[in-house]
């Protein structure tokens, strides 16, 4: 009897990375300029986690995948039109801000509450997946805190590979310093895995999967409860985007080694 898993993937939405992101101070705190109008995508780190989850579930028949997302539901709905065609999952929605400026503690609490509310979730089989950080907040704190709230202390961050052995033991490769991986073993679920890129390609869109997923997604969006975030306890003095420096030089005659040497020399200062 192969091991089965209940895989919960936490993922918010973020503006499409190609958009111009301009932080501004609004009346209720910092925000991105025109954020509501920018097309969104599932947070790229969570995106990898979701595909890894679906792949794991496929290899362990009887497993199931949930995507738990705190996002403005109307924007999340748009994201679902593409995402729902990728892999089978059930959506759990908390209608709230996906902004990187929302408090990580409150976000974690809201998501943990939503996970606790999933009917018949077997916590002994629970693998909590997500990105090792979000592309919006970038703290790498939320998933850890959800794990803590749910009492899961087997936690792995920067995961690129998960292998399950015959006895259900998990072998995990985590990114560490200097481009190296750390290999860890743990007896099995429950565990928290914050994914880096994983190693799976993006699945093509499959509208048949999309139509199947949509049956659950639309009611989930309609029934989403608003998140109770107080927004207290956190304040921002100023926000700005990191300064970029671009110096372009067109070189048509230089070979690749010479270009690499010059860049390396420049990096070393």
């Amino acid at each position: 009897m192969p091991t089965t898993y209940q895989i919960v993937v936490c993922g918010g939405i973020v503006p499409d990375p190609l958009q111009s992101l301009e932080p501004v101070m609004g009346p209720t705190g910092p925000a991105l300029k025109n954020e509501m109008m920018l097309p969104s995508v599932l947070d790229p780190w969570a995106w990898h986690a979701l595909f890894e989850a679906a792949d794991l579930a496929k290899r362990h028949p009887g497993s199931k995948v949930w995507l738990v997302s705190m996002s403005p539901k109307a924007k999340l709905q748009q994201v679902m039109m593409g995402l729902a065609q990728k892999v089978p999952f059930e959506l759990v929605v908390v209608d709230g801000p996906a902004s990187g400026f929302a408090d990580a503690v409150e976000t974690a609490a809201a998501l943990a509450g939503a996970i606790e509310g999933i009917p018949d979730l077997d916590r002994s089989k629970l693998l909590l997946f997500g990105g090792w950080q979000s592309a919006s907040r970038g703290t790498g704190a939320v998933l850890q805190m959800i794990g803590e709230i749910l009492g899961i202390d087997e936690q792995f961050q920067g995961v690129d590979k998960l292998t399950v052995d015959d006895s259900g033991g998990l072998e995990i490769l985590e990114r560490i310093e200097a481009g190296a991986w750390q290999k860890s073993r743990c007896a099995g679920a429950p565990a928290v895995l914050g994914w880096a890129t994983g190693e799976l390609p993006e699945p093509p869109n499959n509208p048949q999967i999309g139509m199947q997923n949509m049956r659950g997604i639309m009611p989930a969006l309609q029934q989403a409860k608003p998140a109770a975030l107080s927004g207290e306890g956190l304040s921002y003095d100023s926000v700005e985007s990191p300064k970029q420096r671009r110096e372009t030089r067109v070189e048509t005659e230089m070979d690749a080694d010479a270009i690499a040497d010059e860049i390396a020399a420049w990096l070393k200062g």
Partner: protein
């Protein structure tokens, strides 16, 4: 909080409201699928220079796999055939063509051509033909090991046969063998010219004529690559456009069972009588497939806006003008003309998209009505002339229905409206009258005028616009637009269709009701006043031309007098496209409030679209005014005073309706200098 400056380019939320598919998740998913393929596989092929070959190759072949994997191939299938969209597919195909053409219309053509090959079978085939070929064309499902069949549609023939004139069929059918009591075997000889998908088609739907007294007339027939005889794919067409599609001049000389006649046949007195002649089949096919072609050009125009703005803004970056200076921040946009011209490109694209999607929605409504009409007529034995008479008798009820349709719901006779609404023949006659206008109008105006406006977009990129490096593939899109204006019937064909459709009493009655509706909307700032005046002028001119002869006593409005009917056809297209844009923009303002995503920026989008509408309506009315003046005065040595006075009053109303138009252009152009655009295009260039 509501801001009045246009924040970003319109996204999916705006489009779904305007083009009325906010509640269609199947369509929204199809859009995402097509967009993924377009901005991924397709864009990479174009960027890698794969368009620079005439020959089909493995790289181009990746498109077919991408279409199969992402559901675009099965989009055309009904759910029971393995598809995922219930009901008619016109809107779905239009949205997919739009998304693919945003990057490359050749890819869109390749995806549509497979459907075009299946369309004769889908529309007129027997149940058995439909089941068999749709099943074969369906991409393999999970667990299946099968290569899907691809098809080609072969109507056009080498000179001097089928082209614009589809009546001169050179392809021939003879009886090769007719065993006693068995199925006849046909010898089919057909040469094709410019046939899409021919590099890999496994079957072909071909138009042929009888060359045997035991076969009656023309028909369409299915040829398979393994049928005995010659299935020669022929020479590749040396295209300068749409190079991501496959086009060749094939030669077929094959024997096929008579059961391959599309729609089947009867044997009457020893003669094979096909159920449908080739004209009936192609009429039902082109009725639908021309709409997505019109939307291809619309997509290109709209896709040009972002790269042109980026080019304009960044034109002087890296130069001596530092950050914060107008020259650095606005670049070319400090010059009024560049934003004004871009606004014209944008407005044209919007109008083209609006009229195209309106036609697609109408086609979706019309499909089941047409089928039900066919069923009822078959049941009652109404064919040919008898059917035409039955439909003509319904005309007064159609006009009554239209009157009720344009009356406030609270005031109209609900029971009578419901009765007429449920009357299939009434609905068919109305849908038919509309399709006879909308479909050719979309194909004609979007592609013809669209191609001209693509040149404007290219011009705005300066020298870059004539190079392969131009972001957004704009020069390729410009050239491609000319093919869209040509295949599936060049502009002359669409103008001929309109010549017939424009005089329909049903259509003319609806125009009168539109005028009333537009006059009621005249105060809303969408240019409805210009459109109402334009429609009035067009109507008056049409009546005038129908009622007057030239000095030689020859009728002015006549199919042979293309110098009269063709410009009049062009004129109505200007009005139709602007009208669709006005209605979509009003829809955005009305329904946008229900969408929380738009809440903050709805006012800004609404005012911007109102300005675009005003401009486009004014441009349309101006064109109509010019065309009508040519036609009314140009065919007489001197004008009748009473006629001239009436005409002049209507023309003056158009002129006066232009009040404030250029101010609208100023505002819209100014929005282009503030609008936030992404850092880079979301496809390689």
């Amino acid at each position: 909080m509501s801001d009045t400056s246009l924040p970003t380019l319109p996204g999916d939320d705006v489009r779904q409201i305007m083009w009325r598919f906010s509640d269609r998740f199947d369509l929204q998913m199809a859009v995402q699928s097509a967009r993924g393929v377009a901005r991924g596989t397709v864009a990479r092929l174009v960027a890698d220079g794969v368009r620079n070959t005439h020959e089909w190759n493995d790289e181009k072949g990746k498109l077919l796999t991408a279409f199969d994997e992402s559901g675009l191939t099965s989009l055309y299938m009904d759910v029971e055939q393995g598809g995922f969209i219930e009901g008619p597919k016109n809107m779905a195909m239009s949205l997919v063509a739009f998304e693919l053409s945003w990057v490359d219309a050749g890819a869109a053509t390749g995806s549509l051509a497979g459907n075009l090959a299946l369309a004769p079978i889908h529309e007129k085939g027997t149940d058995e033909q439909r089941r068999f070929y749709m099943g074969k064309a369906l991409p393999p499902q999970p667990g299946e090991d099968r290569v899907p069949w691809r098809g080609a549609f072969a109507l056009t023939e080498p000179l001097p046969f089928v082209g614009v004139d589809t009546g001169v069929v050179g392809g021939k059918a003879k009886i090769a063998d007719w065993p006693e009591g068995g199925e006849p075997v046909l010898q089919i000889d057909k040469r094709g010219r410019f046939i899409t998908n021919m590099d890999f088609a496994n079957f072909v739907t071909a138009a042929v004529d009888s060359d045997d007294e035991r076969i009656k007339g023309t028909f369409m027939v299915i040829l398979e690559e393994t049928d005995p005889g010659t299935f020669d794919r022929g020479a590749p067409t040396l295209k300068l456009v749409h190079q991501l599609s496959s086009t060749r001049d094939p030669v077929f000389s094959q024997q096929v069972p008579a059961s391959r006649i599309i729609g089947g046949y009867d044997v009457v007195d020893g003669v094979i009588v096909p159920k449908f002649n080739h004209s009936e089949v192609i009429a039902s096919v082109f009725h639908r497939t021309r709409i997505p072609v019109g939307l291809m050009t619309a997509a290109k125009l709209l896709s040009a806006v972002e790269p042109v703005i980026r080019y304009q803004r960044s034109r002087f970056h890296g130069g001596e003008a530092g950050e914060g200076s107008p020259r650095y921040d606005l670049g070319l946009q400090v010059n009024e003309d560049v934003t004004h011209r871009l606004i014209d490109v944008w407005a044209t694209g919007e109008a083209a998209a609006s009229v195209g999607f309106e036609a697609a929605r109408q086609a979706d409504i019309f499909d089941p009505v047409e089928r039900e009409k066919d069923r009822i007529c078959a049941e009652q034995g109404l064919t040919g002339r008898k059917q035409m008479m039955a439909l003509r008798k319904k005309e007064p009820e159609v006009l009554e229905y239209l009157d009720l349709l344009y009356t406030d719901e609270a005031e109209r006779d609900a029971a009578r409206f419901a009765d007429l609404d449920a009357d299939i023949l009434v609905q068919f006659a109305l849908g038919d009258a509309r399709a006879n206008i909308m479909n050719p109008a979309v194909k004609l105006w979007n592609t013809g005028h669209g191609a001209t406006m693509m040149r404007e977009a290219v011009a705005l990129m300066g020298g870059y616009g004539t190079t392969e490096d131009c972001p957004g593939f704009l020069p390729q899109k410009w050239m491609d637009a000319q093919l869209e204006a040509t295949y599936e019937g060049p502009e002359a064909v669409q103008r001929r269709h309109l010549t017939l459709g424009m005089t329909s009493r049903i259509f003319r009655h609806e125009v009168d009701l539109w005028i009333r509706e537009l006059e009621a909307q005249a105060g809303d700032g969408y240019g409805a006043k210009s459109l109402a005046a334009g429609f009035k002028l067009w109507s008056w001119t049409t009546d005038y031309l129908q009622g007057h002869n030239d000095p030689d006593g020859k009728k002015l409005y006549h199919g042979k007098r293309q110098a009269v009917t063709f410009p009049l056809a062009d004129a109505i297209c200007w009005l139709l496209s602007a009208r669709s844009l006005v209605q979509d923009s009003i829809e955005l303002k009305t329904k946008g409030a229900e969408n929380p995503v738009l809440a903050e920026s709805l006012d800004a989008f609404s005012s911007f679209y109102a300005d675009l509408c005003k401009l486009q309506a004014a441009r349309a009315a101006g064109e109509v005014s010019r065309i009508c003046a040519d036609l009314v005065y140009g065919f007489q040595e001197s004008a009748d005073e009473a006629d001239a006075a009436e005409f002049a009053a209507l023309r003056e109303a158009v002129d006066r309706s232009l009040a404030g138009t250029e101010l609208a252009r100023d505002r819209a152009a100014d929005a282009l200098t503030h609008i936030m655009i992404p850092e880079a295009l979301d496809y390689p260039a």
